[in-house]
């Protein structure tokens, strides 16, 4: 049987080589289909990984709590417009919810930062020290501020890389420099490691961090002491996230004395939620490309079936001769199935080549990240084998069912 299959493959390849144009046109559908699958999946995977990488820059297992827009007398304020969250909320959440390993808080405003004769506008965050660790901010040079800086409302600041580039000359030492925000002098004690853009394309390095107490008492000001712009929590394990979110909701509703049917006056978001929003767009694209690819594979399969039916008719006498010298029905069936498979597999391999090439081109020309995984290539290969088998079966069966006498007499 092995000799038979091997020689049949050789024969099938020879038949294809003889009708090169015909074989090429027949394979075109499969080539396009498989190529589209490869290109689509690698672009999709690349985009997904890029999003995940960006989301990971927010820190791991981060839960965000923001104030909700409130409606007062029919007027709906903007999100975060109301100040409903406090430092006490954040501390109480950490105390009451064991899976919440840490909580941090912040308030922000966009302000002018001045260094000597240079200045620029950047977001200024007043944050608790825990906020920095939760959001995975690390200090590349100098050091972070401490609990002692918090308690004494020390006049210190951490600068993002973009702010350093903006405010300091090339080679000028930012550490120890004094910058001014709203005329308050702050000493630069550290420069943050770069995070790049976030998922919305904003520069995350365009940022200044100061101790929360410094912010509310000396720089940003506040309506009442302890009001915050957002609370951030974290858990050790990703599995604890849903439970933590539920408990946060309960504790917050209790603390804010919300009755049964009153809506939450806060919004809870996790990275997973953000990732889903981002992936939604990607999925629409993937579904569309998938539709094109499957139509192409279908058309390619029908093309293979068509050319095989022609081939069976053309070679009726040959089939008769093969049967006369002792070919069983299974031999004939396998012969034509192998011819179908050869068409679809050769087409599939060319398609894989095209797909990989177009994915690479996409990266080079459009600058989109693409990932070509072995799984994708294997799946595409599997697809072409399946198409060949499925669409080859009918013509192969037709050949195998020929009556040898009629086949021998066929003109």
């Amino acid at each position: 049987m092995r000799v038979f299959v091997w020689l049949t493959i050789v024969t099938a390849l020879r038949v294809l080589a003889r009708n090169r144009l015909r074989a090429g046109l027949t394979m075109l559908g499969i080539v396009i289909g498989v190529g589209a699958v490869i290109a689509m999946v690698s672009i999709g995977e690349g985009a997904k990984q890029a999003v995940q990488k960006q989301i990971a820059t927010m820190g791991t297992n981060v839960i965000m709590i923001w104030p909700t827009a409130t409606s007062v007398g029919g007027v709906r304020g903007a999100q975060g417009g109301a100040i409903t969250l406090t430092v006490m909320d954040a501390m109480d959440l950490k105390k009451k919810i064991p899976v919440l390993t840490d909580t941090g808080w912040m308030k922000r405003d966009v302000l002018q930062i001045v260094n000597g004769h240079r200045n620029g506008n950047s977001p200024v965050y007043g944050v608790s020290p825990s906020y920095l660790s939760i959001r995975d901010w690390t200090v590349s040079r100098g050091g972070p501020f401490t609990q002692a800086d918090m308690e004494s409302a020390a006049l210190v600041a951490l600068l993002g890389q973009s702010v350093v580039d903006e405010l300091f000359d090339q080679g000028e030492e930012p550490l120890g420099a004094i910058i001014r925000i709203r005329n308050v002098p702050l000493r630069v004690i550290g420069v943050l490691s770069s995070k790049g853009q976030n998922t919305y394309g904003q520069d995350q390095d365009d940022v200044v961090f100061i101790p929360f107490t410094t912010a509310e008492r000396k720089v940003l000001g506040t309506l009442f002491l302890g009001s915050v712009g957002g609370i951030y929590g974290t858990t050790d394990r990703a599995e604890d996230m849903p439970e933590a979110v539920e408990l946060i909701r309960e504790v917050m509703r209790a603390r804010h004395r919300l009755q049964g049917d009153q809506p939450d006056d806060f919004t809870i978001r996790t990275q997973v939620d953000l990732a889903q929003v981002q992936e939604g767009t990607g999925q629409t694209l993937t579904v569309m490309l998938m539709a094109i690819a499957s139509v192409s594979l279908l058309v390619g399969g029908i093309g293979i079936m068509n050319i095989l039916l022609v081939s069976v008719t053309e070679r009726t006498r040959e089939i008769g001769v093969r049967m006369a010298v002792g070919a069983k029905r299974t031999h004939i069936l396998i012969q034509f199935l192998i011819e179908a498979l050869t068409l679809s597999v050769v087409g599939g391999c060319i398609g894989i080549l095209f797909g990989v090439l177009s994915a690479r081109l996409t990266t080079v020309i459009a600058g989109w990240p693409t990932i070509i995984s072995g799984d994708t290539v294997a799946a595409a290969f599997g697809f072409s084998v399946a198409v060949g088998l499925f669409f080859g079966l009918y013509p192969a069966n037709k050949a195998a069912r020929l009556n040898p006498i009629e086949a021998l007499r066929y003109e």
């Binding site: 049987m1 000799v3 038979f4 020689l7 003889r18 006498r317 040959e318 008769g320 001769v321 093969r322 049967m323 006369a324 010298v325 002792g326 070919a327 069983k328 029905r329 299974t330 031999h331 040898p404 006498i405 021998l408």
Partner: protein, 236 residues
């Protein structure tokens, strides 16, 4: 001599639309091993049907056909294929070589379906081609060979499995006189080596090569004549 073929009360009935055609009507025939038989008859006499049944390409509607002791009438399609592969070699009027495939590969074909290792296939096929005088032409495609040479390739293909029965259906029908004589010479030589040959023809001078002439009419045997001696064969 032992019996190779035994047909008893062989019937073959076709339905063509509403009409029932009785191609064979209770035919009885016994052929011994080593015979050279010519089957003759006009078209529609049933000789093609008999040929198909003897060649295990078809099965009788009624009656029994034993080839080498095997009851062919009871065999399934795969078993028939196996019997054809092991017991029978075919030579057709229109050669029926596989196009664009070398003489060697054409001659290999029955061994290919028998699952013989490739090296052995090549060796046996080469020997068979040499036997019909085609050494040196192993790699010629059918279109590069004359009619007579193509028919010799077909004979080599029939020979290569050392069959117990060689069935030749109008083997000289498409050939000129000289080639016809060559082909008949080869068949006669094979018969002298002990292979049973059944020849279907409507030409008397071709039938004369055989030692036994059977005439069929209306699905039955009209005459069965065994010659005393054989015609001398040129070039055999």
């Amino acid at each position: 001599m032992s019996t190779l073929i035994r047909c008893e009360d062989l019937w073959k009935i076709y339905r063509v639309g509403d009409v029932e055609v009785q191609a064979l009507r209770g035919l009885n025939l016994t052929i011994q091993r080593g015979e050279f038989v010519a089957i003759m008859g006009s078209s529609g006499s049933g000789k093609s049907t008999l040929m198909s049944i003897l060649g295990c390409l078809d099965q009788p509607t009624k009656g029994q056909y034993r080839l080498n002791g095997i009851d062919v009438g009871q065999a399934r399609s795969d078993q028939l294929a196996e019997i054809r592969n092991q017991q029978i070699g075919f030579v057709f009027q229109s050669f029926n070589l596989i196009p664009r495939t070398s003489a060697l590969e054409n001659a290999q074909l029955p061994l290919f379906y028998r699952g013989v290792p490739l090296k052995e296939q090549r060796a046996l096929a080469s020997a068979a081609l040499a036997r019909v005088g085609l050494q040196g032409r192993e790699h010629h495609a059918p279109t590069q060979l004359s009619g007579g040479q193509q028919q010799r390739v077909a004979i080599a293909r029939a020979l290569v499995t050392v069959p117990s029965l060689l069935l030749a259906d109008e083997p000289t029908g498409n050939l000129d006189t000289q080639s016809s004589q060559d082909i008949m010479g080869i068949l006669d030589g094979l018969n002298r080596e002990g292979i049973t040959v059944i020849l279907v023809t409507h030409e008397l001078d071709i039938a004369a090569y055989a030692s036994r002439q059977i005439t069929i009419k209306d699905g039955q045997i009209l005459s069965d004549h065994t010659s005393e001696g054989r015609l001398p064969v040129e070039g055999a």
